[in-house]
């Protein structure tokens, strides 16, 4: 992995993190692992020369939760029974699916935990990387 790629990745991750309002992000991809922590006072740091594009996602608080994001562009369909904040998950389950050109792309909890945020509503359009749920493990 070259410096350029590392730098580009770090930037992309940092963008996602800032946008989602989270403090720490760890990504493992094969034998490459990334970890990013946000500086204490993000407000005081260098402003991006270009303002970030606004997304519709509400800003969750800065807890150390897992973010479950969409990896396609489509319309959110919440799986019944509909997931709500505070719900305890005792294992992996489908939380929703994102419909793309008639195809159902399932969104799973990838394990147990407590739902701490639901960022989307039934029928909402979402883009790639858009946070759908936060789960406290």
């Amino acid at each position: 992995m070259t410096e350029d790629v590392i730098a580009a990745r770090a930037r992309a991750l940092a963008g996602a993190l800032t946008e989602a309002g989270f403090a720490r992000l760890r990504v493992r991809d094969g034998d490459i692992e990334f970890e990013l922590r946000r500086a204490v006072q993000p407000g005081a740091t260098i402003p991006a020369p270009v303002p970030p594009v606004a997304t519709d996602a509400e800003k969750p608080s800065a807890r150390r939760d897992d973010l479950v994001a969409s990896d396609v562009v489509g319309i959110v369909r919440l799986t019944r029974p509909v997931v709500v904040e505070g719900l305890d998950l005792d294992g992996d389950r489908e939380l929703a699916y994102v419909e793309t050109l008639g195809i159902r792309n399932p969104v799973r909890s990838r394990g147990a935990g407590r739902i701490t945020a639901v960022f989307v509503t039934e029928g909402q359009p979402v883009e790639y990387g858009q946070p759908l749920f936060a789960i406290e493990r």
């Binding site: 730098a7 020369p49 270009v50 562009v73």
Partner: protein, 451 residues
């Protein structure tokens, strides 16, 4: 006219299309990858959707996510730009299946022209002169038979080829087996299509192409020719101009006539470019590009026509608002591609953050770019950062203007082609005009030998 257009591209061409849409009063939807979140094309569009991570296969070539973004946002058309999905007939079909107008020719025409061997055959049938050569050759033996007939040197080419990939020059029969094997392997790797054909190799021909516009009501015009002979050893264009300098008026007229004839013959619609090799008084059709070209601004500047707006109008079913008699070129225009590449190191692409970005301005200068001070050049995409275009009353004034414009340009943070192209403006052979595609590689070889 369309209400909302999805722009299925990035970089300067996404901005270019956004400009045309906005000037037509059409709303725009941008798509972007994670790596392009801060890009100007995202900021300037009315809406924007992230369609995937940096690598193109998962974002700018991600057909389901792109079509889905168009549908969700209520678009009625898609402009593909150049590169990525611009010549992907399947994408055009899928768009149509979902009720979206693809701003370009019909899928069948994209398919026919995209297959180089088919395109040559169709053009031959329409009476267009093509390079002596073969249809698909199934084996080295077949290739050898054709090569002996047309005479060495020959060029082995992949029928699905592009950007110099799957192409090998062969000077004699002894080189043929290895060249065939490597070119075919490259074509299979790059295009998943290893079909090859053979062409006569011209000695240092000029690359001259003709811009056409064709509406869906039978209206066809050409907008003159462009000379794109300044090419890197990889066959990528670096400097383009319009009109072609020191071109015999009879050859010019012939190129224009062939272009409109061929356009009609294949029932082409929308904007397109016919590429020719010109060698002395010989003119050979090479290929047709079924999309807007990178170098379209040089034509726009001398004809005063906005080609991207015309593309959109044609796709919306409008008839051309002018005829051939209304089109008269004024002056001379030159375009330089500002790439994030190191000309001292085989044009190796570079990525990084741009600390300083100052573009030229003033009379006769057009800049098409998506970069700005502080912008990031991701490692995933084409290395072109900007196009600087100069127009003047004469070729000489355009060259002098380009020279001063490149002198004003400051891009820091990555290596670029700016200074290198500025030097080229002073090369006596370039100044004289009429160089062939072997000119730049020869200069580079000379410089490398001098070091």
């Amino acid at each position: 006219m369309f209400k909302k257009v999805l722009i299925a591209n990035r970089g300067e061409i996404a901005l270019r299309i956004n400009r045309a849409c906005h000037e037509l009063g059409v709303a725009t939807v941008a798509i972007f990858s994670d790596a392009d979140r801060q890009s100007l094309h995202v900021r300037h569009a009315d809406e924007a959707f992230c369609v995937g991570p940096g690598p193109v296969m998962r974002s700018y070539l991600n057909i389901p996510n792109i079509i889905s973004a168009a549908l969700i946002s209520g678009c009625d058309a898609i402009h593909p730009g150049y590169g990525f999905l611009a010549e992907n007939a399947r994408f055009a079909e899928i768009a149509a299946d979902h009720g979206l107008t693809f701003i370009g020719p019909k899928p069948a025409v994209i398919n026919a022209m995209g297959d180089k061997a088919t395109a040559k055959r169709l053009m031959r049938e329409a009476g267009v002169p093509t390079t002596p050569g073969s249809d698909i050759v199934a084996s080295v033996d077949e290739a050898r038979a054709v090569s002996e007939k047309i005479g060495y040197p020959v060029l082995l080419k992949a029928t699905a080829g592009g950007g110099g990939k799957g192409m090998r020059a062969v000077t004699g029969p002894q080189e043929l087996p290895t060249a065939f094997a490597t070119a075919q392997a490259e074509a299979e790797a790059s295009f998943k299509d290893g079909r090859m054909y053979v062409e006569k190799l011209m000695p240092n021909p000029r690359h001259i192409e003709v811009q056409v516009l064709a509406d869906e009501h039978g209206g066809v015009v050409h907008l003159g020719e462009r000379d794109c002979s300044v090419q890197k050893p990889s066959h990528q264009k670096l400097i383009e101009e319009a009109p072609a300098p020191v071109l015999d008026p009879a050859i010019r007229a012939r190129l224009h006539a062939i272009a409109t004839t061929a356009t009609r013959a294949v029932a082409y619609t929308n904007a397109g470019t016919l590429e020719f090799l010109v060698s002395g008084s010989d003119v050979y059709f090479m290929e047709m590009n079924t999309r807007i070209q990178v170098e379209h601004p040089v034509t726009e500047l001398i004809y005063g026509v906005d080609l991207v707006k015309e593309q959109i109008r044609i796709a919306a079913g409008e008839a051309l608002g002018f005829s051939q008699d209304d089109l008269h070129p004024h002056g001379h225009a030159i375009e330089v591609r500002v790439n994030a590449e190191d000309p001292q190191n085989n044009f190796a692409p570079a990525a990084g953050t741009l600390s300083t970005v100052v573009f030229p301005g003033g009379p006769g200068i057009r800049v098409d770019t998506h970069i700005y001070g502080g912008a990031i050049v991701p490692p995933f995409y084409d290395s072109m950062l900007a196009k600087i275009v100069a127009v003047g009353r004469t070729r000489e004034s355009a060259i002098l203007r380009m020279e001063r414009a490149l002198g004003e340009t400051r891009i820091e943070g990555v290596k670029t082609t700016v200074d290198f192209c500025r030097e080229l403006m002073n090369e006596p052979e370039f100044r004289a005009g009429g160089i062939g595609v072997g000119w730049l590689p020869a200069i580079l070889a000379r410089r490398a030998a001098a070091v």
